[in-house]
């Protein structure tokens, strides 16, 4: 009999706690949804307001920017994504909208599909996504587009059928050229070098690596450079560390590791510096994480590296989303729009046949300027 009573009490408590939680949040939710509804109504009026005000309508002064803009990152705990999200959030606030930042539960396309499905249910105005797989999101993003959601990709692209426009941090060949020149410079023109990448499916990583290979083949100047291996650290610090150690062991004559990923370069920098290795490092890294490894002398593992500003990338992603939602642009090549205080950007044709917006050329972080940048991001 006691067991029955216990069970009854337990289920009663469970049911009560559910109902209690329900009661509390209901009030909050009504206010929240009321706000959202107002925002949605504003949004519906926005295109007319914009059309009347012309393209240069000041975003801060009217409610035209209202609306819900979602950003889906690659994974949680990726500093580059965090900064991108920060910029996105700031820009959305500047235009008076609501930003939803979603980190999938793991760095896979599957987890991103779950997030996209949830965003479709919430009927957001736009989805801006840094894809974990170029093609796997197509079905989910097509569904989003069919529901009237404007889709753009940022940082790592999705395929042409899934997006209206891609916000690219820098042209693929520009990055490839920068990295190859850095490897050429650091090796002194000849020797073995290796690439430490993220996951083997990351579209941006693969495009850069491909471009580096093409540049080396196309110019006899680089004939002395021998790419021994493209290793994948999956953007996990521990795996990147293991892979770096394996590279050092397998190739005793290795001169340079080029890591075009922020997680990989930080892990590799630590390994090289801890082991006092003569192997040098370059690639794409976050200044704040890499500051202690950047230097010209033997005590530092990385002479210089590149990156663009992830905050600006996030902001451009937000302004692009807003322009798509407002109808300022449709994603066709040749269109121009004003990205808040970032100036005017033009949509150009991308290498994959779609269209893209290019943020700018990569920026070099050297021992001279790293102190100034490490506090920024």
């Amino acid at each position: 009999m006691k067991k029955k009573i216990l069970c009854t009490i337990l289920s009663a408590v469970m049911a009560a706690s559910l109902l209690a939680g329900c009661g509390n949040s209901k009030e909050e939710q009504t206010t929240a949804s009321a706000v959202e509804e107002t925002a949605a109504e504003d949004q519906e009026e926005a295109p007319e307001a914009d059309a009347a005000g012309g393209e240069e309508a000041e975003p801060e002064t009217d409610a035209a920017g209202g609306g819900t803009y979602a950003l889906v990152t690659k994974s949680a705990g990726n500093p580059f994504n965090e900064k991108e999200a920060e910029g996105f959030q700031k820009a959305v606030e500047a235009i008076g909208g609501t930003a939803i930042i979603q980190h999938p539960e793991s760095a896979t396309a599957d987890a991103q599909i779950t997030v996209i499905q949830s965003l479709i249910s919430q009927n957001v105005d736009s989805i801006c996504i840094a894809a974990n797989d170029e093609n796997a999101l197509q079905a989910a993003l097509e569904e989003a587009a069919a529901a009237g959601i404007k889709v753009c990709s940022v940082d790592s692209t999705v395929n042409v059928a899934s997006r209206l426009v891609h916000v690219n941090q820098a042209g693929v060949t520009e990055i490839g050229q920068c990295l190859v020149d850095a490897v050429y410079d650091i090796t002194g023109g000849e020797g073995q070098w290796a690439v430490l990448s993220a996951t083997s499916q990351a579209a941006n990583q693969n495009a850069w690596i491909e471009s580096m290979k093409e540049i080396i083949e196309s110019d006899s100047k680089y004939a002395g450079l021998e790419l021994v291996e493209v290793a994948y650290g999956d953007d996990e610090p521990q795996k990147s560390t293991d892979v770096t150690q394996a590279l050092l062991q397998n190739y005793p004559d290795l001169k340079v590791i080029c890591a075009p990923t922020t997680v990989g370069i930080a892990a590799a920098a630590k390994v090289l510096q801890d082991q006092n290795s003569s192997v040098k490092l370059t690639g794409l890294g976050l200044p704040s994480e890499m500051a202690e490894y950047i230097g010209d002398d033997d005590a530092h593992s990385c002479p210089y590296m590149f990156l663009w500003n992830p905050i600006d990338l996030g902001r451009l992603g937000a302004y692009t989303s807003a322009a798509l939602v407002n109808g300022d642009i449709t994603g066709a090549a040749g269109e121009k729009f004003t990205a808040g205080d970032m100036g005017e950007y033009e949509i150009v044709t991308a290498g994959d046949g779609g269209t893209e917006i290019i943020l700018g050329a990569p920026f070099a972080f050297t021992p001279e300027n790293i102190e100034e940048w490490k506090v920024v991001y």
Binding site: K2, K3, K4, L6, C7, T8, L10, S11, M14, A15, L18, L19, G21, C22, G23, S25, K26, Q29, S33, E36, A76, I100, Q102, H103, P104, E105, S106, T108, A109, D110, A111, I113, T114, V115, Q117, S118, I120, S121, Q122, N123, N132, D133, E134, N135, A136, L137, Q138, A139, A140, N159, T199, S200, Q201, N206, Y232
Partner: protein, 333 residues
């Protein structure tokens, strides 16, 4: 006579309304309704259509739950099933890209899954002294390894022609085809487990495999069949997964095995074998799915959702233990 739990079991089970409600399945059902009310309260967009639309992604995992529950009922385990899904999806995509007809593509996916399951079953039967945890840990690595080699350098393959898969991702009204397939599977598997000889053998083997053997149950045959069926359904799961991603990559199906085991355990199926009901597992699976959908819709941090699910699982395992411990203390007194 006194049963495993120390309770007295009469020859004919007593049925009463209170008993049904107080069983684990009854509690789960209350929880399922409670969670739906809860989600409806926290999310303004939590409605029938949206839940059904978001569901297919999760339903692909529920497939694996049914045969996984059988295997758990026997006190065995299979942690290779995520890799089986990955390998089946890879093979199906490669066959499809080779330009073969859609029927062959489906067959290839299902056959790959079944063969993987049969390999597991064969090893489990041949080496009874080895824990199936270790056997399937091995095959987990092997299957994913083969898939990664087949996927090649890029680690991902995309369908050149996705028309066939678009078709199976179709819907009847708001219901995706997948939903009906899962429901049909749920009914078949539950009926077999509760009403058929095969089902009774599962419980017998799980309670005591040796006794079951000496009482004339073909333990090896039952075990092998369960693994083969799990493999086959992993193939089915892979096909529906392709219809959502139009391709396969090295992370396809990652973590599916643990999700399926978690759903089963939450549903009251003991990993020690012999205890639990399929109905509980099915209700548990849909409870978890609804909770995930609801929490996702209020943009709760995905990592926090994982923590909540983990805690829920621990509570569900602890609850029967606490109540039986209390029960024992009372008996002693």
């Amino acid at each position: 006579m006194a049963g495993k739990s120390g309770r007295t079991i009469s020859a004919v089970p007593q049925k009463s309304f209170m008993k049904t409600i107080l069983s684990w399945e009854g509690i789960l059902l209350v929880l399922f309704i409670g969670i739906n009310i809860f989600c409806k309260c926290i999310s303004p967009v939590y409605n029938f259509t949206n839940v059904l639309r978001e569901m297919p992604k999760y339903l692909t995992e529920i497939f694996l739950l049914f045969p996984m529950a059988y295997i758990l009922l026997m006190g065995e385990i299979d942690i290779s099933v995520g890799s089986t899904v990955c390998l089946s999806a890879t093979v199906a995509c490669l066959v499809s890209n080779a330009g073969l007809p859609f029927g062959i593509v489906l067959l290839a996916g299902l056959a790959t899954g079944t063969v993987c399951g049969m390999i597991n079953g064969f090893l489990a039967v041949k080496f009874r002294e080895l824990p199936t945890m270790i056997i399937t840990l091995g095959t987990q690595i092997v299957f994913r390894g083969i898939a990664e080699i087949a996927l090649g350098d890029g680690g991902s393959v995309s369908l050149v022609n996705a028309d066939g898969f678009r078709m199976i991702a179709g819907k009847v009204g708001p219901f995706p085809y997948l939903f009906f397939v899962v429901i049909i599977c749920a009914v078949i598997f539950t009926v077999i487990a509760e009403k058929r000889v095969y089902g009774r053998s599962l419980y017998a083997i799980g309670s005591n495999s040796r006794t079951a053997f000496y009482s004339g149950i073909k333990v090896n045959k039952v075990l092998f069949t369960a693994y083969a069926v799990l493999g086959f359904l992993a193939g089915v799961s892979a096909l529906f997964l392709i219809s959502a991603t139009y391709g396969a990559n090295t992370t396809t199906g990652k973590g599916f095995e643990m999700d399926a085991i978690a759903m089963a355990v939450f549903g009251g199926i003991s990993t020690a074998g012999g205890k639990g009901k399929l109905t509980g597992a099915v209700i548990a699976a849909f409870t978890i799915v609804c909770l995930r959908v609801g929490l996702g819709q209020i943009n709760m941090n995905a990592q926090v959702i994982l923590i909540i699910l983990g805690l829920l699982l621990i509570c569900s395992v602890l609850l029967p233990n606490i109540s039986s411990a209390l029960h024992k203390t009372r008996k002693k007194a």
